[in-house]
């Protein structure tokens, strides 16, 4: 549970096309919905729909977020560590 990986805000922008995530240490990054969808850690490896957008988002316990996409995919639980990794790479 490294301190710097804890996000303080998850903001869905541009009608679901972009997730903006801000971390405790101030790092903020925008991740496109397509990239987020492609990085889904779900066992369901159905191919992403074209022009996929985020239509919903909820937190899971203390450790992850679940996104629901416009192509119907919603089974990926994105841990804070994974979000951090995606944010660091953008």
């Amino acid at each position: 549970m490294a301190n710097e990986t804890w996000p303080t805000e998850l903001r869905v922008r541009e009608k679901g096309r972009v997730l903006q995530v801000t971390f405790e240490d101030g790092l903020a990054a925008s991740i496109s919905a397509e990239r987020l969808r492609a990085a889904s850690p779900s066992a369901d490896k159905s191919p992403p729909g074209a022009g996929v957008t985020i239509i919903d988002l909820e937190t899971i316990g203390n450790y992850a977020a679940r996104f629901t996409y416009s192509d119907g995919h919603s089974t990926g639980l994105y841990s804070w560590d994974l979000l951090r990794k995606l944010a660091a790479e953008s």
């Binding site: 303080t8 998850l10 239509i55 909820e58 937190t59 899971i60 316990g61 629901t68 416009s70 804070w80």
Partner: protein
Amino acid sequence: MVGKDDILTALAAVPGPDGKTPLPQSGAIDGVTVRDGKAFVAIKINPRHAKAMEVMRAEAEAKIKALPGVVSALVTLTAENEGPTAAPQAHAHGHAHGHGAPGARPQPPNARPIPGIDKVIAVASGKGGVGKSTTACNLALGLARLGLRVGVLDADVFGPSMPRLFGITGKPELAAGGQKLKPIEKFGVKVISIGFLVEEGSAVVWRGPMVMSALTQFLREVEWGDLDVLVVDMPPGTGDAQLTMAQTVPLAGAVIVSTPQDLSLIDARRGVTMFRQVNVPLLGVVENMSYFVCPHCGGRSDIFAHGGARHEAEAQGTPFLGEIPLDLRIRETSDGGAPIVASAPDSPQAKAYLDLAARVRASLYEGQSARAAPRIVIE
């Protein structure tokens, strides 16, 4: 006369739940009825997205109303049961209405705190038989003696121990309104257990989703009232029930119970690792059956070795919460339904639990607590 086909043709202009596929092709239409120009359409949706789907519902209604020959149109959204977590959500939805809050929206289902309950803590172990339930029971009573308002949720649906430990034989009643179950209060602590609902000795033979559903209901459909701490007695291991608890509520912390021998400690380590993975703060490790003092000669035997849990806690970087001896009186009072902290609070055995409760309270309120969930904004 307007028929079903006319309705479906009109709805082809409305995008379905995914925002693209026309409604009739989306598979979401659950039923279309037309009688004397009055049209009724039901659309299945995931209840989590009810708010977002309202636009679609209104659009569908408008399109049908615009049809010549239609007197009135009613389009309703129905909750689709898409998986194990959907059932309790549908329930939550029903509740909001049942309690007479007009226009109340279903809450986001997961990880929301339980109204009235300040902190939920889990008492867990890697393996069975280490005295986890006895510890959970006496820890709860100890916390209550420290002046906290305490509840106990027996999450061990396959082996519920709380009815026996608390000496409760009655069945819980329905709370006013008939929607929620009232916990049974004993020794100043509110208790709920699947054991209240089935005969002692009968087996609960359930698959995982049933367990998940039962736990969610125990959390949200029991009238806990205002509690400072809800102590959850977990089943042994790192399975479905543990994951459900970690995902359904923001746990304020976990207490791991272990006996000092290596066999138990290896499994305790798994418990520690699991809670770490889901970011549940570890309040610490308790060493149960730590030593045995012979009632005849007063000699002390370290039956399961001694100090192993302390070393393990240090190795894992988590606090060590204390030692509970292997003691005849603790066993007798537990089996007799008069737990030692309630029946003999001044005994040295009870003191071990009271010390444990004090340390748990200290780490809950002063130490590392669960951090706030990130803010969620959907623009």
